[in-house]
Amino acid sequence: MSDRCVVTINPIDPCSALDGCISDQDGAAILFLGTVRNHNDGREVGHLDYQAYAPMAEATLYEIVAEAHQRWDTGGISVIHRYGRLEIGDISVAIAVASPHRAEAFEASRYIIEELKKRAPIWKREGYLSGESEWLQGSTPVPPSEG
């Protein structure tokens, strides 16, 4: 079993996310993809620009994956997130989870995407067909309390 978290400007090959995840004791593997849609909040979207604090984002993804392992009996997990300019239909994130039984793979995958959206230092700006663009209102990450 091995885990892999990557934040990259290169296009994501979805099948590559599964590489190395599945071992002989696993009976299930699922692949989640986030893709760029052409609308949001009633506005027509033409493309997205992602920024990432890549070294911290990768470290955060590894933390989230470690939490998933603590909560569920899973095999290998990989998370790949892209940054830079993405067009409609492009894959922004791929999450692959293998596990001995299917329930754990579904739950761990859901946990990872939800936590990623709350905590990973990654940002997206929507470019609208009207020519305007806006950074999305995001989640405020919770820093450690004042010591």
Binding site: Y53, K118, G138
Partner: protein, 81 residues
């Protein structure tokens, strides 16, 4: 001491730069860094007084003392996925 300071998304738009090298007195905290930046002119008034910050890749409170060579990143609300 000099602190490499990184900006992303809306904060990068305010700073007009991906990163700045900011000179601070020894013993300064992340909060002191915020004060120094916000004193740089009217554009900086849009920069929050209490942004989330990371020191050397870990989220850290504004009270965190800084040392020469530290890397500070200010983290606006995140929207990955």
């Amino acid at each position: 001491m000099e602190i490499r300071t990184l900006f992303f998304a809306t904060y990068r738009d305010i700073a007009g730069a991906e990163e700045l090298l900011v000179t601070l007195p020894a013993g300064a905290s992340v909060r002191d860094l915020v004060h120094e930046l916000r004193a740089r002119g009217t554009a900086w008034q849009a920069f929050p007084t209490d942004p989330a910050a990371a020191v050397n890749l870990n989220y850290a409170p504004l009270s965190t003392p800084l040392a020469a060579g530290d890397e500070v990143a200010f983290i606006p609300p995140v929207s990955g996925g």
